[in-house]
């Protein structure tokens, strides 16, 4: 998948086959990596399997029956659908495919969160299987994609099946994010930091890692992946560098996809949005428990009033789901079944009996599978994982096939029989009781809090320091609405609708909320409502006239990003808004692609991204412009030159980051768009452009040569080491495998001066340059 790896047939088997830990490549620090200041120690197969995810980061399946890339009526003269019978630019296959993936990414990132709270003995049972994180860690990978189709009924009663529905298991209090020791540099102000520390620091660390929302660690993760790709790309020589560079257009950069994914992973729990608030909570006990029913009651009390109580801006009336983990190897099933019957009598239908084996499974066992890796881990968690795998060669944990099947059934049952119906019911109730009143005639003129809140008067009187003393439910001192206030309920309604993919309802409710939050001056809520309203509007598969788009969506994105950044100082959310907005606009094609490019530029302007993000977003601007196809034989209305220009800028940024491979890719893309051939930039009419492009390609060539030179030096060193330590068989094997590509690169050096991008001045070009700007003094 990754062209950088696959391009080298001799190296690829070594890395793609992560099962064989036989071949350990040696410690190799490329100059690129050392310049980037990365502590590189080694790259072992398990680590490379982690990095290989950049290649296949996006889900390949199309989501449901939605076709989002509909042609639009746009403001441009060249927009299709007006008078020309030309095909819509968005319906071209190469335009719609990656765009669809971005939409799927957003679909799959806002899913119901399920808190997990397991009793000590249940955690212990799982730890015996080799998972130190306990029950959460066991169920988490299985929640990412619910097995089979999930049918959801929307607010107007139409059912639709999705086969990529997922839920996110988290520790119950994970999203609150208690920094270990409070020493973490966060780019974002986190609410609820003061609300209670965990007892065990280790657990707190793990929980903290699971929270995303830190732009800096996202940058770091992507940088790691980049450095790895850079290192693994192998010496690109004269023979194969062309296939390398032209294989993937920058429009579908796996690193950008990774950046987006990490941006949308591990949403922190915050008062202004309820996506990461638990929709349900799994209370798990094991069959080892001496008094199981008492234990369950204890867990329940802990989540509702005890130390596991969430901060009071979280609605605490979520679904409790009771799970009995049965130890298949040691306990008696008949006892567990009778206990389960008893549970059902006590707690109702939301119960499950999960039968697991406790014997540790090893990879040599017959029916074992590797525990799947989580796709939706937060950036800091991935970083920790990378660090861990740099030390341990094969950290994979294996499960019995029967366990995996049991877990899949559990997740499916939990989702289809409990979570989705409960959410559907709540949406219907809230829609009827709260939102429809607001939509009525009188509701239009009156904000929610003024009319329907029974608490509003009492609370404002008890809160004299409030900046707006009018009757509002907004607690401006602490910055949240109480969960029982109509605004909070509406927000929850909209979020639930969004998570169940009923975007029409969601966007209409968000739209109502925007005005309310604005009058209450609840800026973070206001920004969040704007953000999600824009996203939900863009997610609706229906066509959007360019007028609505420019008037509403642009305005919403604008006020969301402005409020997040300037009023609330939350750059992470601003970046998220812009990233989602630009992706969704981009896939609408036509003139929306211009807007998408504008928002990407805005993200650069607002300085919400770091250096890696800057290069990626610059690349993205280019991709946005490139995705706009012109009409007619002259392809009028295309943005070829702009795309090329931004590709050059992206190449420049990559060069600054010493990422030669990426820079080269951008540069060749720019060359392609400018219509110059790889033999030189002969066709560029402007002298300054020509000089700059040439300088850039020389720098890229120098980077490549530097790396290649280093590889050879490393090889020499390896050979020296080998003579010293001949008894190490592993080393020897790696040596023989490693050597062959370098041999080829030696040939490449011989041919180097002829390499297209290395050539400083071809004779053709030097003759071409002169007459162009020669003064013809004709007057």
């Amino acid at each position: 998948m990754n062209p950088l790896q696959d391009a080298d047939p001799l190296q690829s088997p070594q890395y793609s086959n992560s099962e064989s830990s036989l071949v350990l490549p040696k410690i190799r620090a490329s100059p690129v990596a050392s310049l980037a200041g990365l502590p590189y120690r080694r790259s072992n197969p398990s680590l490379s399997s982690l990095f290989a995810s950049t290649a296949s980061i996006l889900p390949k399946s199309r989501s449901g029956s939605v076709t989002p890339t509909a042609p639009l009526v746009a403001g441009s003269v060249f927009s299709p659908g007006a008078t020309h019978g030309a095909a819509s630019p968005a319906s071209t296959p190469q335009g719609s495919q990656p765009a669809d993936e971005a939409r799927t990414l957003i679909l799959r990132s806002f899913v119901p969160h399920v808190g997990v709270f397991a009793s000590a003995d249940a955690d212990e049972l799982v730890q015996q299987k080799g998972l130190p994180g306990g029950f959460v860690e066991l169920v988490r990978p299985f929640g990412e994609r619910v097995h089979g189709k999930v049918t959801i009924r929307d607010s107007i009663g139409a059912s639709r099946s999705w086969d990529d529905f997922g839920i996110r298991f988290t520790g119950l209090r994970d999203g609150i994010g208690v920094p270990p020791g409070g020493a973490r540099r966060s780019t974002d102000s986190r609410p609820g930091t003061a609300n209670g520390y965990r007892n065990s620091t280790e657990a707190a660390d793990a929980a903290w890692l699971r929270v995303g929302g830190d732009v800096r660690s996202i940058e770091e993760v992507v940088d790691r992946h980049l450095a790895y790709a850079e290192e693994q790309s192998g010496p690109t020589d004269y023979l194969n560098h062309k296939q390398n560079t032209f294989e993937t257009p920058i429009a579908s950069s796996p690193f950008y996809a990774l950046y987006l994914r990490r941006l949308l992973s591990g949403l922190p729990m915050a008062p202004h949005e309820t996506f990461s608030h638990p929709v349900a909570c799994v209370l798990a006990i094991s069959s080892r428990s001496p008094s199981p029913i008492e234990e369950l009651r204890r867990l329940y009390t802990a989540t509702s009033t005890g130390d596991q109580r969430l901060p009071h801006w979280v609605n605490n009336e979520f679904l409790r789901y009771y799970v009995l983990v049965h130890d298949e190897d040691h306990d008696d099933i008949s006892k567990s079944t009778s206990l389960f019957e008893q549970m059902k009598r006590h707690f109702g239908l939301h119960c499950h009996l999960l039968r697991l084996r406790t014997n540790q499974c090893v990879s040599s066992d017959e029916d074992c599978i590797r525990i799947p890796t989580c796709e939706w881990i937060s950036a800091s968690e991935e970083l920790a994982e990378i660090h861990r795998r740099e030390d341990i060669s094969d950290p994979n944990i294996y499960l019995h096939e029967s366990d995996a099947a049991a877990l899949r059934t559990f997740v499916r049952e939990l989702t289809t029989q409990s979570i989705v119906p409960v959410m559907e019911r709540l949406i219907a109730t809230w829609n009827e009781q709260v939102a429809s009143r607001r939509r009525g005639i009188s509701g239009r003129f009156m904000s929610l809090s003024k009319k329907w809140s029974p608490f509003s008067s009492s609370r404002t009187s008890s809160n004299p320091a409030s900046s707006n003393p009018s009757n509002t439910n907004y607690d401006s001192l602490q910055g949240f609405y109480r969960p029982d206030s109509p605004e909070a309920t509406m927000r929850k309604l909209a979020d639930y609708a969004f998570m169940l993919r009923d975007f029409k309802l969601a966007s209409s409710v968000y739209d109502l909320l925007r005005t309310d939050f604005n009058t209450d001056k609840a800026w973070k809520h206001y920004a969040a409502a704007n953000e999600m309203c824009a996203v939900a509007t863009l997610m609706t598969p229906a066509n959007l006239s360019s007028k609505t788009r420019t008037e509403n969506v642009d305005q919403m994105l604008e006020s969301a990003s402005y409020s997040f950044l300037s009023r609330c100082g939350a750059p992470f959310y601003a970046l998220r808004t812009l990233a989602m907005g630009l992706e969704l606009l981009k896939l609408r094609g036509s003139s929306a692609a211009d807007d998408a490019a504008r928002w990407a530029t805005k993200a650069l302007e607002m300085r919400v991204v770091g250096p890696v993000g800057e290069a990626l977003f610059t690349e993205r601007v280019s991709a946005c412009y490139a995705s706009r196809k012109g009409t007619g034989s002259m392809s009028w209305g295309s943005r070829r030159r702009k795309a090329a220009f931004w590709a050059v800028l992206a190449a420049d940024s990559w060069v600054k980051l010493e990422k030669g491979v990426q820079a080269e890719k951008c540069l060749s893309e720019a060359g392609r768009l400018y219509g110059v051939d790889a033999d030189g930039v002969t066709d560029l009419p402007f002298e300054g452009m020509r000089i700059f492009m040439r300088a850039l390609s020389e720098t890229v060539g120098a980077l490549r040569r530097a790396k290649r030179g280093f590889d050879e030096r490393a090889e020499e060193r390896e050979a020296d080491e080998e003579t010293l330590a001949e008894d190490e068989v592993v080393e020897e094997i790696s040596e023989t495998l490693d050597k062959r590509p370098h041999r080829k690169s030696l040939v490449g050096i011989g041919a180097g001066p002829l390499g297209p991008l290395d050539t400083p001045l071809s004779p053709l070009r030097s003759t071409e340059d002169e007459p162009r700007f020669k003064d013809d003094q004709f007057e």
Binding site: S76, E605, S638, F645, F686, M689, D776, Q777, E779
Partner: protein, 174 residues
């Protein structure tokens, strides 16, 4: 305030380039572009041709007004002549030229070096009128150059007389 003016031929080839500064508000008429602006201006102008080629069909005017901007503060106005030759004027309100480094440098640099960009409004009627007058004056001069029997169409203009006229027009209006 610095300006970069270029005439671009039918094959996206530059026919004429000229840099100058403002002569209004005590300006000395010298362009203050940074070193990297040499190529950046060309890149930006070249990229705006996409927009020119789209807008030219929607507008009946030869003067296409402000049609593009490049962050943080470069504004592009355009004028199109009858034989598909484009005049482009890049306006940089700040003395620091358009460059990537001005995007990436610290926020403090932005606030300090932009006293004039805050006040500059590229769509103000007075500004648009001034640019329009400039374009028409250059257009006159350009027509006369075209009529010269020694000038071949779509080739760079090297005439010092023409350059002098452009400079005079710039001094007069901008």
């Amino acid at each position: 305030m610095s300006y970069y003016f270029t005439i671009i031929g039918t094959k996206d080839n530059p026919l004429f380039e000229h840099e100058f500064g403002t002569s209004k508000q005590g300006g000395d008429g010298v362009a203050r572009f940074r070193e990297e602006a040499r190529h950046m201006n060309q890149f930006i102008a070249h990229a705006s041709l996409d927009i020119v080629e789209e807008v030219q069909w929607a507008s009946g005017q030869m003067y296409l007004k402000l049609l593009d901007r490049f962050p943080p503060a470069t504004y592009i106005s355009a004028f199109i002549t009858a034989n598909n030759v484009k005049f482009l004027l890049l306006t940089c309100p700040s003395d620091s030229a358009p460059s990537r480094s001005s995007i990436t440098s610290a926020a403090s640099a932005r606030s300090s070096s932009y006293p004039s960009s805050a006040t500059y409004n590229p769509t103000a009627p007075a500004t648009e009128e001034a640019v329009k007058s400039f374009f028409y004056e250059v257009y006159d001069a350009w027509l006369k150059t075209l009529m010269s029997p020694f000038y071949h169409i779509n080739t760079p203009i090297g005439s010092p007389v023409f350059r002098g006229r452009v400079a005079a027009a710039a001094k007069k209006y901008l």
